[in-house]
């Protein structure tokens, strides 16, 4: 009965999601959350930029060039986190027919692609003065580039199919298959010889970043994370309106805001 018990638990959870994840309810909730999330994001960016660009000391080897880390690392982290979130939502939407999950996955893709592109470009701008090259085909850089193409492929697939349910199904498969790239990106620096150095922050060991440099990094990471959630909610709200335009609640809403 174990497995079936598990399925029953999941099905209760899915019923809960169906009830409270109804687009109408979520549209209102997101509308109330957006200003708060935007405010927190702005505050974190102001503090993070001040600490990262001005307050933090220079590095003993890289001087002030290491400050690129405060935009590069958060974007690289978010590029992977957004992908896992996107694939999870896509899988939820595909398996249990949760409309809101489809919308969340679709709205995550352009944000994830932006994080990936920023990680690649800022990494290049950091690599030139420190390593001596804009780009190398090592395992870390190559797998991160593949991540960018996965996002672009996902968006292209979404755009090429008009029916939202079929678009969600087809692109969900791509998103789920692409998940295998995430551990490859993470472990590439340990599995292969790479030009890119291993992680400075891991869950299992002492941080290799001095505290006055670690604080700005954490604040900037939170800033990009809150930025992601803010813009996700904004995008999801628009998408809900489009998909639900023929429902009574959207008509009522449009009439009231004319």
């Amino acid at each position: 009965m174990g497995e079936f018990g598990g399925f029953a638990g999941v099905s209760r959870l899915i019923k809960f999601i169906h009830k409270y994840g109804a687009p109408k309810r979520f549209y209102r909730l997101a509308g109330r959350l957006v200003p708060w999330f935007a405010g927190v994001t702005a505050l974190l960016f102001v503090v993070g930029l001040y600490l990262g660009l001005y307050w933090a000391p220079p590095d003993y080897q890289q001087g002030d060039a290491y400050r690129i880390m405060f935009v590069h690392v958060p974007n690289a982290w978010m590029s992977m986190m957004a992908y896992v979130i996107m694939a999870s939502f896509a899988a939820t939407g595909y398996i249990w027919n949760v409309r809101l999950a489809d919308i969340m996955a679709k709205a995550t893709a352009p944000l994830g692609a932006s994080f990936t592109l920023t990680a690649l470009v800022t990494g290049s701008l950091w690599g030139k003065p420190m390593w001596g090259t804009w780009w190398v085909w090592d395992a870390r850089l190559t797998s991160e580039l593949i991540l960018f193409f996965l996002y672009v492929g996902y968006m292209a697939l979404q755009a090429s199919i008009d029916d939202p349910r079929r678009a969600a199904h087809a692109s969900a498969i791509l998103a789920i298959v692409g998940v295998v790239n995430i551990p490859i990106i993470h472990y590439s620096v340990y599995w292969w010889h790479t030009l890119h150095q291993p992680a400075s922050l891991t869950l299992t060991s002492q941080p290799k970043i001095y505290i006055t440099m670690l604080i700005p990094l954490i604040i900037m990471s939170l800033a990009f994370m809150f930025f992601y959630f803010t813009m996700l909610l904004v995008r999801v709200r628009s998408e809900i309106l489009v998909r639900e335009q023929r429902t009574d609640w959207v008509r009522k809403l449009v009439r009231s805001k004319r």
Binding site: L49, A56, P57, G63, D64, V121, L241, Q245
Partner: protein, 59 residues
Amino acid sequence: MTFSTFSQFLAMGGFAFYVWSAYGFAALVVLINVVQPIIHNRKVWRTLRRDLDRAEEDE
């Protein structure tokens, strides 16, 4: 604290081009990601209002 003058701050220890380009690019991407959804949202609302007007004219 780290930089004693403003021009020193701008110079970024000789790495001005790389540091400011990286922050500039990141800022540009953030900006696009703020502006584009807002414009899209306005467009969605315009379409919804227009469709509602038409539907009511038909009635």
